[in-house]
């Protein structure tokens, strides 16, 4: 069975600066050849023997993206038994992501969750005893990808895709209804309307692609949730963090009024703060939305910062949440160190059995926040906290789907321009509809038939 060519980041994405992009499949070598340039610009990877390493650059047109070492492993002597190319990158997370992007633009597609392992197994590379483990890998990766492709997708993006998909379906249903029942529904003069509509949808999709380039489609970085009771000073901690010139990377108000998120870089570590109540809102998340909601938020986070007011006694809610947090990576901030202490670092450590680092800070006086910063960095570099690298591939997958939708819509416009009959339009409209569906996790199913019957009075 011939397999298409897939690519993914195959090392954990950390800030260590080194990472590997793995490409596998029949076209693996030729895909990388298209973007690889050796020092003297003369070397062709396709002419090199198997199991060799080559120094050079990954290019996007004339622009150097990264200085790399490329390893070639020809079929069948590779992990997947297909042709495999591994690109060792040195330029950190950003360039790793750009290299992946470039590989995908030049003919590979983003790998499905666990797909390298799946191929290795199906091609007989991994033996029987490991089969169960393979299934587990696929499942674990898939679960994460599902979570990230759905929950990581920004609410506003989700809504836009649903909206454009709806428009596509309307046009499709009209064309198809007319084809099925030409004596009842006429397509005369329809191309003009479809052209306008398609151009508009295309513009929306292109805007989404641009925002994908800026990382606005999904939330990347360490998902960090800051929890705390109202008087704990959660908001001042947030404000202090943001005001301290942490270089706000994004700040996008979502469509639901009270969702606000901010990402900022902490010496190269991307923190993504998410909060349904709005990170600047002063209301108390714990009391207002309840302990359960706090748990739910914490569940989705890579890192939880729990803010406690050191000038009061911790109550039952505090206990319950901290108890729950023992399952998670968390930091307890004992805020208001400028006030006479009622609760001390020792009190909390006793309560939690030293499960978390506890820091005394004063958000008001901007004291101790450097400790928090240091603590986060330590946890990150020690590997305690990491954000799952699947997220980059998820982003790449979604972007690729958007680009496919864009291509399909351009084909629709081309078909209209070339005066093709109407039934040709629906081929590419349907492809665009399916591609957009992948992003929000919806398949095509009976959508079209249902829409036709809902909107048009069909048949005899």
């Amino acid at each position: 069975m011939k397999n298409d060519t897939i690519a993914a980041i195959s090392t954990a994405v950390t800030n260590s600066g080194i990472g590997i992009i793995r490409v596998s499949g029949e076209q693996a070598i030729s895909v990388v050849d298209r973007i690889y340039r050796s020092k003297d610009s003369k070397k062709k990877l396709s002419l090199q023997p198997s199991h060799t390493i080559h120094y050079g650059f990954i290019m996007d047109g004339e622009e150097v993206i990264d200085e790399v070492l490329v390893s070639l492993m020809r079929a069948p002597k590779s992990y997947t038994t297909e042709d495999v190319v591994e690109i060792n990158c040195h330029g950190g997370i950003y360039s790793l992501r750009r290299v992946l992007d470039t590989v995908i633009r030049h003919g590979a597609r983003p790998a499905e969750p666990g797909e390298f392992t799946k191929r290795a197994f199906l091609n007989g590379r991994i033996d029987l005893s490991q089969a169960e483990a393979v299934i587990d890998v696929i499942n674990a990766k898939n679960e994460f990808a599902l979570k990230s492709s759905l929950s990581q997708l920004k609410g506003s993006v989700h809504e836009k895709i649903v909206c454009q998909r709806g428009k596509l379906l309307e046009e499709l249903a009209f064309i198809e209804a007319a084809l099925d029942d030409p004596e009842h529904i006429s397509l005369d003069g329809y191309e003009g309307k479809l052209e306008q509509e398609t151009e508009q949808i295309l513009r929306e999709i292109q805007a989404l692609i641009r925002s994908a380039d800026n990382g606005h489609i999904i939330k990347e970085g360490i998902q960090t949730v800051i929890l705390g009771k109202p008087n704990a000073g959660k908001s001042s901690v947030l404000n202090a963090l943001l005001q301290e010139e942490r270089a706000i990377v994004t700040e996008v108000a979502g469509t639901t009024r009270d969702v606000l998120e901010a990402a900022f870089s902490l010496d190269g570590i991307l923190l993504n703060l998410v909060d349904t109540a709005g990170i600047r809102a002063t209301e108390d998340l714990v009391e207002k939305i309840g302990v359960e909601k706090a748990k739910e938020k914490a569940e989705q986070a890579d890192l939880v910062i729990y803010v406690v007011d050191s000038s009061t006694e911790p109550d039952e809610n505090d206990r319950e949440i901290m108890n729950f947090l023992t399952e998670k990576k968390a930091i307890i901030l004992l805020n208001k160190s400028d006030l006479p202490p009622v609760t001390t670092v020792e009190t909390i450590e006793k309560m939690t059995g030293k499960a978390f680092p506890v820091l005394a800070v004063s958000a008001k006086e901007q004291k101790g926040l450097d400790l928090l910063e240091k603590q986060i960095q330590e946890m990150f570099y020690d590997g305690e906290v990491s954000f799952n690298d699947e997220i980059y591939i998820t982003n790449a997958r979604q972007k690729e789907a958007l680009i496919r939708a864009e291509d399909s819509l351009k084909k629709v416009l081309l078909s209209i321009e070339n005066q093709m009959p109407e039934d040709f339009f629906s081929i590419d409209l349907m492809d665009a509809y399916a591609s957009l569906g992948e992003i929000i996790g919806e398949s095509v199913g009976e959508d079209l038939v249902n829409e036709i019957f809902a909107k048009f009075c069909m048949g005899k």
Partner: protein, 630 residues
């Protein structure tokens, strides 16, 4: 011995469009075939619309014909008007539709059946299936006779526990007042078959002499008639055609309907069955599309020897008095004399997910089914299934692999895959939008797609097969010639192009490149192509389509290649889904219920995710390796 006891190879229950194709296929493949019908006079009856074909249904008829079925030939013998629909659109959606002379259609099919060797017709109701250890061994009739058989094909149409209804009138009959079949359902249920109850309907028939056609628009047939069957010589069927007529409902019609909705059995709940959305009754249309001020009504002749006209677009189950007023509110029908009332009909059918792709029951070996019994609607859908069920019943007896068409090969493949893989909660109708690869599944190339297969099966004779090979060769050679032949940018060429609204050539180009221009075609270029061989219209059409739409066709072919990869991965019968680790619960339940035959089919089941498919693939590979070691 006090009762009849006989032995045959195949029993076919029902003589409608599915039953006829099933019985003919079996008999022509050498099986001793016995066909039961509740009335010999109702063989190949068209109890609803008086036409064959139409959008996507015309494709089915072509495919049935290409495989050696009878429907196409029979309508070519008996049509009274013919029309190619969607002619202004792409070749993939051109669709042939012919008005039939209903009684001639029925009579002609009956003659074919009667003249076929190995085929017996019997007027009798089958009441019971004889099943021994999940294997069908025979059937029992109302008269108490036993017919032992190796396979049976159920094509009971709308007859099982049928009930015809309008207003408060409810009759326990099949269509057209024919006797219903009341016993077979019980026997099926006893054998573990899950039944559904569906509903459909038909409009009134009105006497022609009572209609004022001057208030209607005439709808004529095509000037040049294209036959359905690839074996029919087009010259032989160019004939005088009858017209249909178009009129419209109006606000008054809708008012009459709205005022009487409470008397409709559909709205009052008397009718339990699920009706089709694509073929709504007029009261349904008025309710669901209340913003439409009028609906089209086509008046179509039921034949040339009858005065009855079919009122297409106004099926109904409203009470008789409402029907009279409703029809008479339509321009041209003011004095309408209703010959037969409109009615809704309810009937038992099955959840077709109990069938394999061969149309054999998964749990009863040797029992096949086809047509409306499987939850489809339409004469053409029925015929297509009947043919496949007939072929597969014969092959089962001959111990051959089942014959299965996939979604990339034929509309028939789409139809059957949809029926047995998806949950259908209403009568299923074929639509072109259901065919993913419709550019490849055109009605014009059904012979090229399928006639070779028909020959292998044994339903296509050598002569027809050789003809097909010749046609294929001619197409191939001509396409290749046009791709390779360059014409220069000489003055005569530039003038020719200008005259056809096409921009001039800067350098030489191939004929193929010119054919791809929207304003040009193979036919138009004849003038500047002196080296062109003499070819039939059918071959010329293929050449034009293959060149003109080449880019799109290649794309679909690539998609098909992807699709086939999964389709080819068979799921063996031994899979116990409870043993497959990590399947999600929903997927596990669905897979157990459907027992898909391939990974491709499994992936089309709602509720089975791509991750489940991955898990299943890995499991199957593991099992394969384990078996290899053992």
């Amino acid at each position: 011995m006090n009762r009849v006891e006989e032995y045959v190879d195949v029993v076919v229950v029902g003589a409608g469009h599915a039953g006829c194709e099933a019985a003919l296929a079996c008999a022509r493949l050498g099986m001793e075939t016995l066909m039961f019908t509740v009335s010999v006079d109702s063989i190949a009856l068209m109890p609803c619309n008086p036409n064959i074909g139409g959008s996507s249904k015309g494709h089915l008829v072509r495919e049935v014909d290409a495989l050696g079925g009878e429907m196409g030939k029979n309508i070519d013998r008996t049509f009274i008007q013919s029309k190619m629909l969607n002619i202004s659109k792409g070749p993939a959606v051109h669709s042939l539709r012919a008005q039939a002379d209903k009684s001639n259609y029925s009579r002609s099919m009956r003659r074919v059946l009667e003249q076929t060797d190995h085929l017996q017709i019997k007027q009798m109701e089958v009441t019971e299936l004889i099943v021994d250890k999940q294997i069908l061994t025979g059937v029992k009739t109302l008269s108490g006779a036993f017919y032992h058989c190796k396979a049976a094909i159920l094509c009971t149409g709308t007859y099982l526990k049928a009930r015809c209804i309008y207003g408060d009138v409810s009759m326990h009959t099949g269509p057209n007042g024919l006797q219903a079949a009341d016993y077979l359902t019980d026997s099926l249920v006893k054998n573990g078959v899950k039944m559904y109850r569906f509903k459909t309907g038909t409009p009134a028939r009105i006497a022609k002499k009572s209609i004022d056609f001057s208030k209607m628009e005439e709808q004529k047939g095509d000037e040049t008639i294209v036959p359905f069957s690839f074996t029919t010589d087009p010259e032989s069927i160019q004939k005088e055609q009858v017209s249909c007529w178009l009129t419209y409902t109006n606000e008054k019609t809708h008012e009459i309907i709205r005022e009487n909705l409470d008397r409709s059995p559909l709205f009052s709940g008397v009718i339990e069955g699920t009706g089709p959305r694509y073929c709504p009754s007029i009261e349904d249309k008025v309710v669901r599309f209340s913003d439409k001020p009028k609906h089209q009504v086509f008046i179509e002749p039921e034949g040339i020897h009858t005065d009855e006209m079919y009122i297409d677009g106004m099926s109904s189950s409203l009470p008789e008095d409402v029907q009279v007023r409703m029809y008479r509110s339509v321009p041209g029908l003011e004095n309408a004399q209703i010959v037969r009332n409109a009615y809704a009909i309810e009937y038992d059918c099955i959840d077709a997910r109990q069938l394999k792709l061969s149309l054999e029951f998964k749990t009863i070996s040797g029992l096949f089914s086809a047509g409306q019994f499987n939850g489809s609607s339409g004469y053409e859908e029925a015929a297509a299934q009947g043919l496949i069920a007939g072929i597969n019943a014969a092959r089962k007896i001959q111990k051959k692999e089942p014959f299965i068409l996939d979604r990339s090969e034929a509309y028939i493949g789409v139809l059957i895959d949809d029926l047995v893989t998806k949950e259908n909660l209403e009568p299923y109708r074929m639509m072109t939008s259901r065919a993913e690869y419709r550019l490849l599944l055109r009605q014009d190339n059904a012979d090229i797609r399928l006639t070779k297969k028909g020959h292998e099966i044994g339903l296509i004779d050598d002569c027809r097969y050789q003809k097909l090979l010749r046609k294929e060769r001619e197409i191939e050679q001509e396409v290749s010639r046009l791709e390779k032949t360059y014409i220069g940018a000489g003055k005569n060429i530039q003038d020719f192009l200008e005259a056809h609204g096409s921009i001039g050539l800067r350098s030489s180009a191939t004929f193929a490149e010119l054919i791809r221009r929207p304003e040009l075609s193979y036919e138009i270029l004849a003038e500047i192509d002196p080296g062109r061989p003499v070819l039939s219209k059918e071959v010329a059409d293929q050449v034009n389509i293959l060149i003109k739409y080449d880019g799109y066709l290649q794309r679909q072919l690539r998609q098909v290649e992807q699709f086939r990869k999964l389709e080819k991965k068979e799921i063996p019968d031994f899979v116990n889904y409870d043993d497959v680790p990590s399947l999600r619960i929903e997927a596990r339940q669905k897979l157990k219920l459907y027992q898909p035959s391939s990974i491709g089919q499994a992936s089309r089941i709602a509720g089975v995710s791509p991750a489940d498919i991955s898990v299943l693939l890995v499991y199957l590979e593991k099992e394969r390796q384990r078996k290899k070691y053992e």
